[in-house]
């Protein structure tokens, strides 16, 4: 690391690690790709019941951190805890079992499925996902499927997209797909939901819908951690906001503090002109 980077690093105060009820704790996480340090000793904690925003300029390492937390990348060092369970380096499905579900930046389309079919992939631990039970306990499978279907229908109604239920999942708009993704993730009944740019490419009306839904779900008890470039969106929704810069946590604070912080402005606009 050159001198410039070091001096930048000295100005990093990091995140608030002294929280009461932590659902996700990221401790000293490191990842490099070849010569590029993507995640550089990053630490932060997400308190239960919050909507925590994760922001930072391009290349700050936000997506890498999401991939490390959710098990899609294997960290070179550090530790990830979900609900107090160490899930460092575990498979994504094990991390999901611990209660953490993530979404993707580009909506993933499910060819050959209707929207409600695509929704039904969401629930975890379905009895019908066991090959044996399909034959030993078809009534149990049917009961669970009916219940999941009703739940899917209920969530679609809450999201006001129940009219799409039987549409092909490939035929709906990108913004609607984002809503479906969020709805499906909710069916997995997560304790914490990681959203990767939930409103990228979504029109303003749907953007407000999404914000409303996230707030509502949060009030019902789901914890959120959101990467988002749309500052207006994230600053209205999130508290606290964690700022990443060069793979490290620059600071954490309430939105208005972050927005006026000199270091954050420097990180975004570039230092010393």
């Amino acid at each position: 690391m050159s001198e410039g980077a070091t001096s930048m690093r000295e100005r990093h105060e990091g995140a608030d690690m002294e929280k009461e009820d932590v659902v996700l704790r990221v401790d000293d996480l490191q990842k490099r790709f070849g010569g590029l340090v993507a995640t550089d000793h990053a630490s932060f904690a997400v308190e239960r019941g919050t909507i925590t925003g994760l922001i930072g300029p391009n290349g700050a390492g936000k997506s890498t951190i999401f991939n490390l937390i959710s098990g899609f990348y294997e960290p070179d060092g550090g530790r990830v805890e979900v609900n107090g369970i160490d899930v460092t380096g575990r498979e994504p499905y094990e991390i999901a079992d611990a209660g953490l579900i993530r979404t993707f930046q580009t909506p993933r389309k499910l060819e050959g499925m209707t929207v409600r079919e695509a929704m039904l992939v969401g629930p975890r631990k379905q009895p019908g996902e066991s090959f044996v039970k399909l034959f030993t306990d078809p009534e149990g499978v049917a009961a669970a499927e009916s219940a999941n279907l009703a739940e899917a229908q209920r969530i679609l109604e809450e999201f006001e997209i129940d009219h799409l239920a039987t549409q092909p999942a490939t035929d709906i708009s990108g913004g609607q797909m984002k809503l479906v993704e969020l709805a499906r993730a909710m069916l997995a009944d997560p304790e914490i939901l990681l959203l990767d740019e939930p409103v990228a490419g979504v029109n303003p009306t749907l953007r407000n819908d999404l914000a409303e839904q996230i707030r509502r779900l949060n009030e019902q008890g789901t914890t959120f951690c959101i990467i988002e470039h749309d500052m207006e969106f994230v600053m209205k929704l999130a508290d606290p906001v964690v700022v990443l810069n060069q793979g490290n946590v620059l600071m954490e604070g309430p939105p208005d503090a972050v927005q006026t912080d000199e270091r954050v402005i420097d990180a975004y606009l570039g230092g010393d002109a």
Binding site: S70, G71, F72, E91, P92, Y93, A96, D97, I101, R102, T103, F104, R108, K109, L110, E111, G112, M113, T114, R116, E117, L120, V121, G122, R124, Q126, P127, G128, E129, S130, F131, L134, F135, V141, A142, A144, E145, S146, L149, T166, P168, A169, T170, D171, R184, A185, A188
Partner: protein, 431 residues
């Protein structure tokens, strides 16, 4: 509404592709029926064809549950077919070195029967499927194709060269009927009386010019002897296999289990993010399909009564691929249909052998394509052209899955699902 009460209504409800396929099936059945009546097609041979077609349908169902459901590009179909065939015959055939060794070791001969052979074949196929799956199922799609083809060749080479187990290239003969030792069924073919069917009492009807172009005699006596009853028994067996497999696969396809497989096919990362252990699901799908293929092999051994390493030739794999792509990836009924079409091609090209040569007069030079000995290349050409034309113009196949797949009884009406096919399949990209 049903086909019995309102056939026209049912027919108009179908998609155009479905209508075409239905008409084709009806026309083909009529063609076979006429063949049967005219004596051009012996009843035993007819049943043999039905057995063979059902066997291909079984193989196609197996591949469909790997490629169609999950997107696993498996080029080792012939190997699992061969494992099924060898699995049962090595235990039960009189010329099998393994059987001899077992008898010498004091295993009672009664135990070495085709039913035990079936069980052994299925177990061995399952174990080998796991063994092949462990290294290959983490590979990206095109590498899985090449690796599975390579490992299938390894299996073929072992069967060919371990003569002390398999008789090598000589193959295995002396295969008993599947029902040997069963009460009633064991002796059924020879015990049945010879039946003479006289469709036109007191003679026959000959249609000849000018009514049609060539003479066709209807109503000759059809003799149903021991070979016929044996063939009938075989067909019953394969129909039981096919029915059971179809029933199982249809149920699992419509289940949450099948839905996870379809999610993996469309986007494996999404399935992982939603908490599914995708490697385990891929393995289950791979093993399930391999077992169905092995079942087809077991049947084949007792149908053909001779098994050789040539049965593991990769060409069988590609026939089955054609059947699945033609029928529509992910569609069980498409796989059934595809299996039957492939046998129609296989056996249909044999008719070329009877046609002699076709002579094209191209200007001053005559191009002679002698079809008499060229059934093989014509078949290959036809298969090749079908693959290319399908991939170019209809990669989703003729009967792509049409309906939403939700566990039966949980929704009232089932809307049409979107088409899906090779076009959407991933592959070639790094994970």
């Amino acid at each position: 509404m049903s086909w019995l009460t309102d056939p026209v209504g049912e027919f108009t409800d179908l998609t155009r592709a479905e209508q075409g396929v239905t008409l084709f099936v009806v026309a083909f059945a009529a063609f076979l029926f006429i063949g049967l009546l005219s004596g051009g097609l012996g009843p035993s041979y007819f049943l043999f064809l039905v057995g063979l077609a059902s066997m291909y349908a079984l193989l196609s169902l197996g591949l469909n549950s790997q490629w169609g459901f999950t997107g696993l590009i498996n080029f080792s179909v012939a190997a699992f077919f061969g494992i099924g065939a060898y699995g049962t015959v090595l235990l039960s055939a009189s010329s099998s070195p393994v059987r001899e060794a077992l008898l010498d070791a004091g295993v009672p001969g009664v135990l070495l029967n085709p039913v035990v052979g079936l069980v052994v074949a299925i177990v061995v196929a399952g174990l080998i499927a796991v063994a092949i799956g462990i290294p290959t199922l983490r590979l990206r799609a095109d590498y899985l194709a090449i690796a599975s083809l390579g490992l299938a060749e390894v299996i073929r080479l072992i069967v060919l060269n371990q003569q002390d187990w398999t008789n090598g290239s000589a193959g295995v003969r002396g295969i008993p009927s599947f029902f040997v030792g069963w009460p009633v069924l064991s002796d059924f073919p020879s015990a049945m009386p010879e039946v003479v069917v006289d469709l036109v009492p007191g003679g026959s009807v000959t249609l000849s010019p000018p009514l049609i172009d060539w003479g066709l005699t209807f109503g000759q006596d059809i003799v149903l002897g021991t070979p016929f009853w044996r063939a009938l028994l075989n067909v019953s067996l394969v129909l039981v296999f096919l029915g059971a497999s179809y029933g199982v696969l249809r149920r699992v396809h419509r289940s949450p289990w099948g839905r996870v497989l379809r999610t993996i096919r469309a986007d494996e990362d999404l399935a992982r993010a939603l908490g599914k252990d995708t490697y385990s699901f891929k393995m289950q799908s791979f093993v399930l399909g391999s077992l169905v293929m092995a079942l087809a092999g077991v049947f084949y051994a007792h149908l053909n009564l001779y098994v050789s390493p040539g049965d593991l030739d990769p060409i069988t794999t590609f026939y089955v691929w054609v059947a699945v792509i033609l029928g529509g990836s992910g569609s069980n009924r498409g796989a059934l249909f595809g299996g039957f079409v492939v046998v129609a091609i296989r056996e249909g090209t044999r008719f070329f052998s009877d046609l002699g040569s076709i002579i094209f007069d191209v200007g001053s030079t005559e191009v002679v394509i002698s079809l008499g000995i060229e059934g093989g290349p014509m078949r290959l050409l036809l298969i090749g052209v079908i693959i290319v034309v399908l991939m170019r113009f209809r990669p989703e196949g003729l009967l792509p899955p049409q309906r939403e797949l939700i566990w039966p009884g949980t929704v009232d009406e089932v809307p049409e699902g979107p088409d899906v096919g090779v076009r959407d399949a991933r592959g070639g990209t790094d994970e």
